[in-house]
Symmetry: C2
Subunit: 489 residues, 2 copies
């Protein structure tokens, strides 16, 4: 979408006013900065007019007010690890980069952290752990993702079933309305029941309803111990059936990761060694228990007994290093898949437990029907599967097949009572499927809220609601900070 | 607020249309039914025109559509245990009573419950516990409060610091927009990141943004064991200082209740026996640990050591019966206070941990300055204090003093960085203080959302935003189901 001439004049005028207001040194327009701010991990590049690095709180308000007056799109940006294009400035304008605002203060007495939006998740976790506390949300981009971005997308991670998602660890938010007024939602207290729950409406709204400048996080006591375990199954269906049996206990593993055989093959090629020597080419379940040592000791017995009955092979990590080795393999799953195609449609769907097997069978059917690899792994205790549809973008036929396959997948997911996104959000990538998930009244309600808060439609416009055919856009060839191979040792 | 003549004609017409649409047997207009639906635990009675007991889902939509067409106020109602007047039909019209919709289905495999809005919290808890699961939110009205009402108010309870509030246990909601369209928010899955988080916006919106007809709840594994402990301190300040030391560990008690000496005196008069024989007229902390037995055993040592250092007297409950006895006393606190006046302003404020002592000193100052009793107890691990201002309503001077005292309290709370409500919500009772808590931009945003969802302002109108001087309204003399003395044994 190109800005029309009148819009362009408006935008130029606005930018010179902004320079005067907040200082030219807070604004970058060099091509390197523009390109870096033009995309996220979905690699869909749309160049902005400028990247703004505000130095003071009130600069954010001033910027938004100017943007409203001159109708300049504003796209807030954190670490840029979104996989959906949520941070791409699809309509140009200004990128608002708050990654330099990164203070982290731990209140060890109250079990809370007060953080700025640019603080990285790994930094927050380390700071909390130094004082005996724990911040559980663990997206795999943990070293790069910022708290602002993970709040905007309500990011999840592997430990969601036991520990919940980002929304479950937010006591309060401060920031600015799209129209530039300063607001504070929920005051950062442990309970708050005054007025509408705007805090939670902001969470997961992908930077379209407000700009976060401060967050108060909930911390919990750090689990005393962990235990990691790997179990192999000849086929996916057997792994999933066994997982359901394990969860029935009720036993609440901190992590229960499922890997299908396509994923395991990718990993084995990528790292050039078997994931589980005794059982190559198996579907795997990676299990982690955490909590009090005595509790783990008991639950471990339950898991071992279960493994004897259901798994073909299994092994426990007998040291922290061994556990870390298992997790390192899991963390490169996403990267490893690029052997099966230079492009992937990466879906983070959710289905109810009763639909795990129909879902995995459907991914195998898609593979047969469309001739594309569909490696799938996921967080099985909460039904959040990552289904990937791999293709080579240069191959027009494959690209068309991928488009058909993803439509078939999303329709199936919704028909199984599932969700088109569990933790990535909609961004640009899932926009064609939003209307599969929500009826007209639901969409209209969301749009009415957008209009109520952002009447000029300036804050991260083009996201969530406007259908965008992501598979038709050529991704940028770029090496992002998290693009690396694991050490092969 | 009396309906004008034109409004009355409209309302009569609407009611006869409604009878035709959903059946006369679903509608009650007898004076007993009208009175019962006219108030909640705040006892502020406003008679509705009719009480509607819909039999089918679509009846709810039809009712709301008619109400919009003819501008009839609709007030949804659960167990009527709200303490703020949130369920009072302040503008008349129709009360929508869903207490007969009470099915509870436990999915023991997924750790979820699917419930209808009229299911009582105690019923849900028992059903979950029978299958080894646990639904933690525990408002003291647990036997009478419905899940619909506790979602509408985001109810808390004693175990909030460890287990969170109602919002933390809601996976999905279904129901109707104020304009009558059926919607489903978040599909009842363990993760959901598609579109705006409308589910959480409904939670705590006090029945002003939608009518809930179904909820999917999160359950957690039931804690294996509990341990209950009572500690006495000569003065409030010592109790609070000790509580802060205990929380520093970090140790997460399931419950940490504080009782000031005024509360303890009320209890002792009411039950005609000392709460803690060894230490009459003390400020108390009631502590409960839960979890794995081995963990409790360790934490117990920490608590005992802490008690030796800080408490004047202490005692552990050595049996479940003894523990239950301690809790029974705590549960009648609210009732016991009516010895100090026939009316109370019951505030559920929250302050940060650093402000506990300034807060309690302020309640004692209010007592001195206004000559009214200010018994205070509360959930200390999350800073949620219940401050009561007691007076005799027949005494005009006392009523004026109470009004002044509550304004002074709320101003102090906000100046301490606190919240005017932690778990009761605003309803009618806290409306005069909403603008102390929220700035103009915040209030305008909330009002814009109300308008976006309920353009005709028919759903539970008059609540949250319109200042209402609750102390000027004579409460109804009525015996509600939960008005009873404890067995004195």
């Amino acid at each position: 979408m190109k800005a029309k001439k009148k819009d362009r004049t408006q935008r130029e005028k606005a930018l010179s006013l902004l320079k005067r207001k907040i200082g030219a040194e807070a604004i970058r327009t060099d091509s390197k900065s523009l390109f870096e701010a033009s995309l996220d991990n979905a690699r869909l590049s749309f160049l902005p007019d400028a990247v703004i690095f505000p130095r003071k709180e009130e600069d954010v308000g001033a910027l938004l007010k100017l943007a409203n007056r001159h109708r300049v799109p504003v796209t807030p940006r954190g670490g840029g690890t979104a996989t959906t294009g949520a941070a791409s400035p699809v309509q140009g304008g200004w990128v608002l980069d708050l990654t330099y605002w990164r203070s982290v203060k731990i209140d060890a007495e109250s079990g809370m952290a007060t953080v700025q939006p640019g603080a990285r998740i790994a930094t927050i976790q380390r700071a909390a752990e130094r004082k005996g506390w724990f911040y559980p949300p663990d997206p795999s981009s943990i070293k790069y993702a910022t708290i602002g971005g993970t709040i905007a997308t309500n990011a999840g991670g592997m430990s969601g079933a036991k520990y919940g998602v980002t929304r479950d660890y937010i006591f309060g938010l401060e920031g600015f309305l799209p129209t530039g007024e300063k607001v504070r939602w929920a005051a950062g207290l442990k309970k708050f029941a005054s007025g509408y729950n705007m805090r939670d409406l902001w969470i997961g709204s992908e930077g379209t309803l407000g700009v976060i400048t401060k967050a108060v996080l909930k911390l919990i006591p750090k689990p005393q111990a962990r235990w990691t375990f790997l179990a192999a199954f000849p086929k996916e269906v057997q792994a999933l059936r066994a997982a359901r049996k394990l969860l029935k206990v009720p036993l609440m593993p901190a992590i229960l990761e499922f890997l299908d055989r396509q994923t395991v093959q990718c990993l084995e090629n990528y790292t050039a060694k078997p994931v589980f020597k005794a059982a190559p080419n198996s579907s795997l379940l990676l299990i982690e228990l955490d909590g009090h040592e005595a509790q783990i000791a008991e639950e471990k017995e339950v898991v071992m007994q279960w493994a004897y009955e259901h798994a073909s092979h299994f092994r426990e990590a007998t040291s922290l290093e061994e556990a870390e080795e298992l997790w390192a393999v899991r963390r490169v799953c996403s990267q490893a898949m690029f052997q099966m195609g230079d492009a992937k449609l990466n879906e983070d769907i959710v289905v109810p437990m009763q639909s795990y097997i129909p879902l995995i069978n459907h991914t195998l059917k898609l593979k047969r029907d469309f001739g594309l690899a569909t490696p799938t792994f996921g967080h099985i205790a909460d039904g959040n599967f990552h289904v990937h549809i791999m293709f080579n973008r240069g191959d027009k036929k494959q690209a068309r097949q991928a488009e058909k396959a993803i439509h078939a997948l999303m329709q199936k997911v919704v028909s199984l009572g599932g969700a088109i996104s569990g933790e990535h959000g909609i961004g640009l990538a899932k926009t064609p499927f939003l209307r599969l998930q929500h009826n007209r009244a639901e969409i209209n309600t969301m749009l009415a809220i957008k209009k109520a808060l952002d009447p000029n439609y300036i804050l991260n416009p083009g996201k969530i609601f406007d259908p965008y055919q992501v598979w038709k856009k050529e991704p940028a060839k770029v090496r992002l900070p998290w693009d690396h191979r694991p050490k092969s040792s």
